[in-house]
Subunit: 320 residues, 4 copies
């Protein structure tokens, strides 16, 4: 192993830059060269890269986004695209590749690993935390903290006006973000795509809450639960309460990574390079039982990570 | 003057609690009693208040929202409502009243001053900064900083994905917030309700921006400029660019006030009590030419504060 | 089990209020009464407490500090003090007690458990993270994030002036905080009490760092490593570099808890009440292998938590 | 006027980068070339500069520090140094120079203006706000907010432990920062270099404060008031209270600039270029009566800005 490639793909997540820095510095300390492919899979399709050195990744540890930039690449979804990317690796004598990204990117990494002899290792990085094989992804902790900082502020307004707020957080398919956010802001109600919500239950909870003397209410909802505007109107109709909607937007995807997102980036980056040096591929680095470990990409891609519904029940009890 | 009343009304703004603390402590240091009416004008309509003392306003200086709570009161919009409020003042021997709030609340203060002998002094507090007679309102600086912190994070994602973002900030009728936010985040384009936007100009600016090598773009838009979803689609159609929308929500109204919002609250609160002690009423405290001063409520209510269009032009030049 | 007591003791940590809320709400949902003893062990020595209800712990989840207040109690260090506290529990028919605090407080909990039939359960909460039996304590993540936010700012100044900064963080005996902070800010050098530092190594590292083109340097030092002022002078003498010292102070102990500190507080609080309901005592709740679990207080108190020196080596490699 | 120079000098202040961006973009929009001299006056002494273009100052608006870096230059304090700098301007045909910095840097700007025909315009940027001729300097608002955010956290700990904290903020000679910080955090006592403090008064205030039921106390002290460690011991001796010291360090000099610091940077930068284009020199841009204006450098350097002692008295009343 002499040269390795590095790519960030899919939606960006805070801590991607920290992962880039970690991979590059660990790799260089082991006498590897690192090629940073730009704009996600586009860089592999168009052979666009830059040499990354310990100095060129200086000063980026704390920055959101990714200096390699990223994109969603439709061409890479077809087999010809994947083969072209594999050729780029061969052309440049790159015999190892680290892929930093979420669900879709790791699936792409698996596809690519089937068309190349280069060893591929994935690093899970997404604010959605919806990757099987790791208890936490790079960026998740940052997104949660960004959202709770915002909701702490909304709580001020909710209390002053004695209103109910629906706060929509990211999560089209999965509710990891909404659940953790809801649990840590003390939301009265948490709505996740995994559990069909019942308007009656929501209404009853809000009425009980009001009867207990609570002056305001926070409903944290993942964007994937359906139309929150419609939900708002329905709640207003049934309860007569004054309800507002706040959509917590793209800021969740940016910003300085938290300590935990940086720490995972350092540890995952380190382990990814180690795996390559040990001639292992088709694997993803992950956090399991609180330890850094790795798992086959195949298993990551075919297994759905389960949401801990006990936490949802705990959140309900904590909101009494 | 023995007893004064205090009320926070309309939309809450960060620094209202600091203003409450300032009014109460200054008043008590001058041997006045303070009655805090609750939930905005509702408290005056229903004679609901609590005695406020230097101790009861301890520990609130840095908190968002208002401990007196607030509301929008339709009843107070009618003359009977205003007269009822005036009677509450008489009933309690309250001979001075400090009203903390925005545009509508100050209008209410003026109405009330016409129905009572009690002296009424307004303190401008709103994140919109749309009050004539003061260069800045309590809460404006905080809202601006909340918005720019959010947009700095969005810029990370915009750069990583090389996208254009429309960020909608508060401001139904006026663009003070959007303008200051746009100028201080380095927005490529700023859209305010005061200036009708031209789709052609937006498209041209984005194309020029792209031609100059800018990888991303931020459009800051006040909510009052029209349907930002529609604008997004139109821009996408005309430019082929990937555009996203982020609605910067109610968090702008909450959160710990910035130093400047706290400072204004302290200075305005101090001056408001001084005015009452000097037997002045029907006035609003304000910041003019960088100094604390006061102005007739009548003039505040009949004059529209003008937006400095030079700043809009400066923002354009700074975005080259 | 009908009545349980709750006490926060020792140095405060962000998330203690979240733990109070969790214990109270879980306990009340299981029909327990909760007595909150005030000012740490003092409350047990003087029988000073207040009834805590789901409502009385509303609105505190996100606040730093502890509403029960805390103190360091010399009297409780003697056996008579402990016995007096035990009598207070008997007097009030309190048959379970949850103790929230760090190292010393948990030791106190163990002592107390030897003098009473009431069941005692500890919840580890300290910014130092120096408690055996849990991978993380409540407050640690918040303190780390407060410190790195500060150091990110110092890095700006360090870069602009091309200077070396020594940043002293809390940790009189142990280096958990300094190590995690150093690793996540990309410190050039990390000094912990567990490893005697060598001035020669520091000087060599700084010189190599400078030779590699680094314009600034950050040394993160736990307060327990010795006199940082002296170290500064020694480094300046040996290197001729311009070195500054910044002491990162008590702010690390306060502030809104991060999501992770709140989450641990929720999960630990929940488990603590469950243990009491299952008639278990003399135990501490903890996080082990990423799971909530519990361990005998006896073992917690007699075992020293080890610092992972591999992380120190990783930090060195990452700083190349 | 074809070419202008730009230099940042002295201690860095948040918003210097925003000022650099503003000067460069305004200048380039008026067909001027901009040479950015590096490391403060060093760049003029050694003729080290880089061409700055609208693109090269992209993405820096929100960053702390200064991309041109800065230094304190002893050589420039001698007349030979100043003459050498003047020669560098001549050599490069630079006929205008914008100097961004504090007190000392503006003095340097004045000295330089006496040795060259190039027009010199100063922009006040320092967290100390101690520059005559402007109500506010770039960076001041950011430093104040950084300090109050820290002290809000310390207040949590102070309340939980019922302690008095001395918080030392920057300000070797002047108390602008300490005064504004103290006023906006609700400090019980504010100590500034301009007013000799009396131990007796401090002790009496703390005792009265305690008698009124205040559980904690914050003393904000400028570093220039003397030895705060000694003060701590004296207060502890006289009162028997538990007092702690927290030194608020270099983080005040870094971090993302606040909206206000950015706004001043934009407005000052714009005006500075305008002055040069209008063939004016030996002036400093400033904020007076809330408006952007300019003043002779000569007057800036020979006049001491006065601290508003009324604010100190107001702070005392507000702390009752």
């Amino acid at each position: 192993m002499k040269k390795i490639g590095l790519v960030t793909s899919g939606g960006d997540a805070p801590g991607m830059n920290a992962a880039i820095r970690a991979v590059v510095r660990i790799a260089c300390s082991r006498d590897l060269q690192v090629f940073g492919f730009e704009r996600g899979w586009e860089g592999l399709l168009t052979n666009t890269f830059r040499r990354l050195t310990p100095r060129s990744v200086g000063g980026i540890l704390h920055l959101g986004g990714t200096i390699l930039r990223t994109s969603r690449s439709p061409e890479f979804k077809k087999r010809e695209g994947v083969q072209k990317a594999a050729e780029t690796l061969t052309l440049n004598n790159v015999d190892g590749l680290v892929v930093v990204g979420g669900d879709g990117s790791l699936r792409g990494a698996l596809e690519l690993s089937r068309e190349t002899d280069a060893r591929i290792v994935g690093i899970p990085a997404t604010i959605d935390n919806d990757v099987f094989g790791t208890e936490e992804t790079i960026g998740f902790d940052t997104a949660v903290n960004t959202a709770i900082t915002e909701i702490d502020k909304i709580r001020d307004t909710a209390n002053s006006h004695e209103r109910v707020f629906i706060v929509e957080v990211m999560g089209r398919k999965r509710g990891f973000l909404a659940l953790t956010v809801g649990l840590t802001v003390g939301a009265e109600i948490i709505l996740v795509p995994e559990v069909k919500y019942s308007l009656e239950n929501i209404v009853r909870t809000l009425e009980e809450s009001s009867a207990k003397g609570k002056k305001s209410g926070i409903i944290v909802a993942a964007e994937g639960i359906g139309d929150t505007r419609k939900l708002l109107r329905e709640i207003e109709e049934k309860t007569g309460l004054d309800v507002r909607l706040s959509i917590s937007g793209y800021a969740q995807r940016g910003g300085h990574p938290t300590a935990r997102s940086r720490l995972l980036a350092n540890l995952f980056g380190n382990r990814a390079v180690e795996l390559l040096l040990n001639k292992q591929g088709k694997r993803m680095v992950g956090l399991q039982k609180g330890r850094i470990t790795s798992i086959e990409l195949e298993q990551v891609c075919k297994t759905e990570k389960s949401l801990d519904l006990n936490l949802l029940r705990l959140a309900q009890t904590l909101a009494i």
